[in-house]
């Protein structure tokens, strides 16, 4: 996790400080109604200090100054959040340097002209050869190549990009490591994926999210009420013969309107997006992130998310009088020539459990695994023939038929969701290796967590229902969809949505595109096809399906931060009343001194302390806004009880202490 030191590193602080002044531009402030109102009040108060006769110029000016600080601190919070986004955007932009592109006249015509990548338009074809940078976002339409995408994802291992597959999308700024491909450019300059991502993390194209708008409405409503309260107060006070000066009223108004949440609201939103991009997730809009917090049904691909990508050997079962070691030794020799992940997993299993060892010099002839023979093997110098592979293939090769014991064993493994492989020596069946999906460690706990948060998990798999049920039970998902097809997925999403649920899913293939578009939150893998990436509202640069869960958490955290700070902000007002109201009225009603529960030293210091506290609390809460309120998955009731205690009661009590301390400090410094 990020610590507060890196949240506020010096390189970010300086530009943020400058920008917190330039953001005083009314056109920029207008986007944030509460802060705009604060700035207007500050301006009015400044004017009034000079025109007010000057008996209390020192105090009035100090109040005005701190009102300005309130606005500047809020700007600072926003600038700091944006600065963090910008830093990330700059890193991305460096990948977007101008390069030469080999623009092809046509697919059949391999003659190219060298042009700048900036001039490339949608549907242009470019040839990219080993060692060259891909000049823009697009789709591989010819060839296969390994591509180094570390500039985008930070992952150094190259990935395969191939035309006509689900992995045909390439991103501008990534480097082809081997082979050559023809890429059809997918976006005009300025509209590429990277451009969009930069715009988003910089906050430039940030639209307010629906909940942010609703909250802003509430904050404006509260501000309006307090405006009514303060504007009518002179009239009511006049009946008691009290006249209230503009700076005092300004102080009361600014401390009452929800400046704390108003000042931090946009920083929370920007920081939320930033937390996503720190996880290499690109949101196409803030709306999607917020929707993620609401998701109550997660469709999760089995492969890669719940289980490791490939099946792994999990046990060896000898048949007849064969010993486990004999079976293991044969299987090990026979698997040495099998480079598939399944074959490797057999070797790993045997070596891990120290069941057997192989001497490479003993092998005379290696029989490589191929998809057509479906087996691999080794002929040893002593003439021993060892084979391993699909049960039918091995039996056929050995020219034997399975006995009753073997048949039963094979069926049992298949029924429980595993894949049986047979091992033979010199045409004699030694035993069966079971390959099964291995559920990732810790995934069950993760799903329990999700369940406590009220999120249903549905496993999507192409497996038969039997296998699917077995894995679903082991992983602890709530439901599963077996023999899934894109149509079935789409239907499942529609059905859940008809019940009023919000569905999130991730996918990569073109045939996932309709489901991704239908889902409320769709996460496309960066390796996916352009169609899938277009349909989704989030893109995962690492192509890691487990991220879906992170997206939900970030979405929730964003809402919780807003809610908590709103509660805190409103609860603060109680203490401010007890500071300012007695200060305003004790001149005429000395008995109201009884309301001065904080025993603030003088009316002047009481008002000033409240204003100073109100400004400083914004700064104090910036780290919380940027990092998000700590969130541990729990049920709604537990969460509410905890956050209410922390931010509700805390918000009630903290300012009593804070204002008192400020009062002691300013009196000690002789400011009033």
């Amino acid at each position: 996790m990020e610590n507060s030191a890196s949240l506020m590193s010096a390189s970010l602080l300086k530009p943020a400080l400058i920008e917190s002044i330039t953001k005083l531009d009314p056109r920029k402030l207008f986007r944030n109604p509460v802060m705009f109102m604060t700035a207007v009040i500050a301006a009015g108060s400044t004017l009034a200090s000079f025109t007010g006769g000057g008996q209390s110029l020192g105090l009035d000016l100090q109040i005005a100054l701190w009102l300005w600080f309130t606005v500047i601190f809020a700007n600072f919070a926003e600038a700091l959040a944006e600065g963090r986004g910008k830093a990330r955007a700059d890193a991305l932009r460096s990948a977007q340097t101008e390069t030469q592109a080999k623009k092809l006249a046509g697919l059949d015509n391999r003659r190219f002209e060298l042009v700048s990548n900036r001039t490339l338009r949608k549907n242009d074809l470019v040839l990219v050869e080993a060692g060259e940078l891909i000049p823009g976002d697009g789709e591989v339409i010819d060839g296969i190549a390994s591509v180094d995408e570390s500039a985008i994802t930070g992952e150094s291992a190259p990935v395969i990009r191939e035309s006509g597959s689900d992995r045909c999308a390439v991103t501008g700024g990534t480097r082809v490591v081997s082979d050559a491909i023809v890429v059809r450019i997918g976006a005009d300059p300025g509209e590429s994926f990277l451009d969009r991502m930069i715009a988003l993390v910089e906050g430039a194209s940030r639209q307010k999210t629906p909940n942010e708008i609703a909250l802003t409405v509430l904050l404006i409503g509260l501000s309006l009420i307090f405006l009514l309260v303060v504007m009518t107060l002179p009239a009511w006070a006049s009946y008691a013969g009290i006249s209230l000066s503009v700076p005092l009223l300004a102080a009361l108004l600014v401390t009452l309107i929800p400046t704390t949440i108003g000042g931090l609201l946009s920083a929370i939103g920007i920081a939320g997006m930033d937390r996503l991009s720190a996880r290499n997730l690109v949101a196409k809009s803030g709306r999607a992130v917020e929707a993620a917090g609401d998701v109550d049904t997660l469709l999760i691909d089995k492969t890669g998310t719940i289980t490791f990508g490939n099946r792994r050997a999990t046990h060896l079962v000898p048949v007849g009088d064969v010993s486990r070691e004999q079976l293991a030794e044969a299987a090990l020799y026979a698997s040495l020539a099998d480079a598939t992940p399944e074959g490797k997993s057999i070797v790993e299993l045997i070596r891990e459990q120290k069941l057997a060892d192989a001497d490479a010099n003993a092998v005379a002839n290696r029989i490589e695994f191929s998809a057509s023979t479906r087996l691999s093997g080794a002929d040893l110098h002593d003439g021993t023939q060892l084979r391993k592979g699909a049960v039918q293939a091995v039996l056929k090769q050995s020219n034997v038929s399975a006995d009753a014991e073997t048949t039963k064993l094979v069926e049992k493994i298949a029924r429980s969701g595993g894949t049986p492989l047979a091992v033979s020596r010199n045409g004699k069946l030694l035993g069966i290796i079971a390959l099964t999906d291995v559920v990732k460690p810790g995934i069950k706990a993760r799903f329990d967590e999700l369940r406590r948060m009220g999120i249903r998990t549905v496993m999507i798999t192409g497996d038969n229902p039997l296998t699917a049920a077995a894995i679903a039970a082991e992983a602890g998902v709530d439901d599963y969809l077996a023999e899934a097809t894109p149509e079935k997925k789409l239907e499942l999403i529609r059905k859940a949505q008809a019940e009023g649920r919000l569905v999130a899913m991730c996918g990569d293939g073109s045939n996932d595109a309709p489901a991704l578009a239908q889902a409320d939150v769709g996460v496309a893998m960066n390796s996916g096809t352009p169609a899938a990436r277009e349909a989704a509202n989030l893109i995962d640069l690492d192509s890691d399906p487990t991220k879906l869960i992170d997206v939900v958490l970030v979405g929730k955290q964003m809402l919780i931060s807003r809610g908590s700070l709103t509660t805190f902000s409103i609860a603060n007002d109680v203490a401010k009343y007890f500071a300012i109201v007695p200060a305003l009225f004790t001149g005429v009603y000395p008995a109201l001194q009884a309301l001065n529960v904080m025993q603030l030293q003088s009316p002047a210091s009481a008002v000033l302390s409240a204003v100073i506290f109100n400004a400083l609390i914004i700064v104090a809460l910036i780290p919380l806004a940027l990092r998000g309120t700590p969130y541990k998955p729990a049920s709604a009731s537990e969460l509410l009880a905890r956050n209410l205690g922390l931010y509700g009661l805390g918000g009630l009590v903290a300012p009593f202490i804070g204002i008192k301390l400020v009062d002691l400090a300013i009196n000690a410094l002789g400011l009033v």
Partner: protein, 567 residues
């Protein structure tokens, strides 16, 4: 607190807990959507006469239009009756027509369920005006409240529809099956207790001292019944339920107390039944009962202290503060009545709130300022409370990381905008802004009897009472002037229709939404946390808004009294 008082307070708590769910059951049976047989006949006759297509449902805008039309018509008709009562029959005392501003104020007052009275009933209103003018509105205004709450609850429980019900049907059923039969029953009970019900002119009587006293009679019991049941509060006599003809016995007093809250509380349970989840109703009911109990406790404590300025004059402080109270009711009954009537937006009084101690008078004022949602007026209390519930789930929803929802309906920007307009803006607008004109302008201050904080309290109470559609008075303010009659009428209109229109819009907006099934991630709106938060939101919104002004009024008066300062 002596044990007799405690037992009395506990009696009312238990009685409300039993009575309100029963009232909810009755309301459901009477307001049910389809009815056949003999019971359907009266409403069919009304629909036939008025040309209402009872089967046709309205969307929220049509519903609101019908409501505003009926209410505007009601104001106009009542204005005409009052202005020209000298030309109308049943005026045996030959009372003149009312001035335009008093007629306007009274017409608005009775139509908005406020029943603020800038006049003394027995010396101003003819029997015709009382029976055919005021009493008609006494029925129509609570029926309007019930209609609005029905539309809002339908919005919450229906899904993906534009329709929120038919205003004319809701109104007709409320009057025919709820208000009329209950009033009839209640009026008979009151007559049994000694409340007059006749059409005789006033009679003169010689008092023991030999003075002549005029005893005004009339159809008192019938008006009294709906005055209480419909949380209207406009008495037949100037001193309202402190008058022995309006409230003759301890039993009649107890019945009035319970009747005041029974329909408002009953509607909460109707809501639970319509939502198919009684726990929701109990949560809302708890959020009403708890502040009510706190208020009774505070007011009782304040009144029991007595008046420190009276003690040196030889008054035993143990007698408590008896100024302005009926000896036959005493402290506890007066306090209960004051708190219930301000909680319920009723406005009937059996003691003079102006004579309460500073804090004792603060309690009824705060009860109104909280938005008249602690039970509140018939209908208006629950719809106000439900809007506070929406605000509460919004804040709570954010704190648990979900788009907030209430009963499975998402609360989004549009609902928030409307909820702010409904729950947050109208009350301060009427109380603080219009009140500020009244307190700052010479024409407004002219009517005030007292200087200093108490004078301010009187003005604040008047505009609070009008905006909250309560109608009780702090007295001390001579309100029957062109200035106050007009401004108070404006405050009453803002306090009534300011929330109603946005609330109907909320109903329409919610009705169109899907209903989301609850999950563990959904914040439950029937538990103790929700109740506590809801009460917190109501108290904080109320306290934060009015604290500075209250500090200049009752709070300053209280602390000054303690310090021995008089004004």
């Amino acid at each position: 607190m002596n044990s007799a008082d405690l037992i009395q307070i506990l009696f009312f708590a238990v009685a409300l807990l039993l009575l309100c769910p029963l009232a909810g059951r009755y309301l459901q049976a009477m307001l049910a959507p389809d009815r056949s047989g003999a019971l359907a006949l009266p409403e069919r006759i009304v629909y036939g006469t008025c040309g209402v297509d009872a089967g046709r449902e309205q969307n929220w805008a049509e519903y609101a239009r019908a409501l505003l039309l009926v209410n505007a018509g009601g104001i106009a008709l009542l204005f005409a009756i009052l202005r020209f009562q000298h030309l109308l029959p049943l005026n045996p005392s030959g009372l003149p027509g009312l001035s335009w501003h008093l007629a306007l104020n009274t017409a608005v007052s009775f139509t908005t369920n406020t029943n603020w009275q800038s006049y003394g009933g027995e010396s101003t209103m003819s029997m015709f005006s009382q029976a055919f003018g005021l009493t008609v509105q006494n029925f129509l205004s609570p029926a309007t409240g019930i209609a609005v709450v029905l539309a809002l609850v339908r919005g919450l429980v229906r899904r993906e529809t534009a329709n929120v019900g038919n205003f004319y049907v809701d109104m007709t059923r409320s009057v025919l099956y709820v208000l009329l039969p209950l009033s009839l029953l209640f009026a008979l009970l009151l007559v049994w207790q000694g409340v007059p019900q006749n059409l005789e002119a006033a009679v003169s009587a010689s008092t023991l001292e030999g003075a002549q006293q005029t005893l005004v009679q009339g159809p008192v019991a019938s008006q009294e019944a709906i005055k209480i049941l419909g949380t209207n509060g406009g008495g037949y006599y100037n001193v309202n339920s402190a008058h022995p003809y309006e409230n003759p016995t301890p039993l009649s007093n107890a019945l009035q107390l319970l009747a005041m809250l029974s329909l408002g509380g009953g509607l909460v349970f109707l809501f639970g039944r319509m939502a198919g989840d009684k726990r929701q109703a109990w949560a809302v009911f708890a959020a009403m009962m708890i502040p009510l109990a706190i208020a009774v406790g505070c007011a009782y404590w304040a009144e029991s202290q007595g008046n420190p300025f009276a003690t040196p004059a030889g008054v035993d402080p143990a007698l408590a503060n008896m100024e302005g109270k009926e000896v036959r009711f005493g402290t506890v009954s007066s306090v209960l009545y004051a708190v219930f009537t301000t909680a319920a937006s009723c406005g009937a009084v059996n003691a003079m709130h102006d004579s309460f101690t500073a804090l004792g008078g603060l309690v009824p004022m705060v009860m109104i300022q909280l938005g008249e949602v602690i039970f509140g007026g018939v209908g208006s209390g629950l719809y106000g409370m439900l809007v506070f519930a929406l605000l509460t789930v919004f804040i709570a929803g954010l704190m648990v990381g979900r788009t907030p929802e209430y009963l499975g309906k998402k609360i989004e920007a549009r609902e928030m905008k409307l909820a702010v307009f409904a729950a947050l803006i109208p009350m301060p607008l009427g109380i603080l802004v219009i009140g500020a004109f009244a307190i700052a302008l010479p024409a407004g201050v002219a009517g005030l009897a007292n200087p200093g904080p108490h004078g301010l309290s009187e003005m604040l109470y008047a505009y609070t009472s009008a905006t909250g559609n309560n109608g009780s008075a702090f007295a001390g303010l001579t309100a029957n002037t062109e200035f106050h009659n007009s401004l108070l009428a404006l405050a009453m209109l803002i306090g009534r229709f300011g929330p109603i229109v946005p609330i109907l819009a909320i109903a329409g907006s919610l009705a169109a939404k899907k209903r989301i099934p609850p999950s563990a991630g959904t914040f439950p709106t029937h538990g103790a946390i929700f109740v506590a938060l809801l009460i917190g939101v109501i108290l904080i919104v109320g306290a934060l808004t009015y604290f500075p002004t209250l500090a200049l009024g009752p709070v300053a008066e209280h602390f000054s009294t303690l310090a021995g300062q008089q004004f």
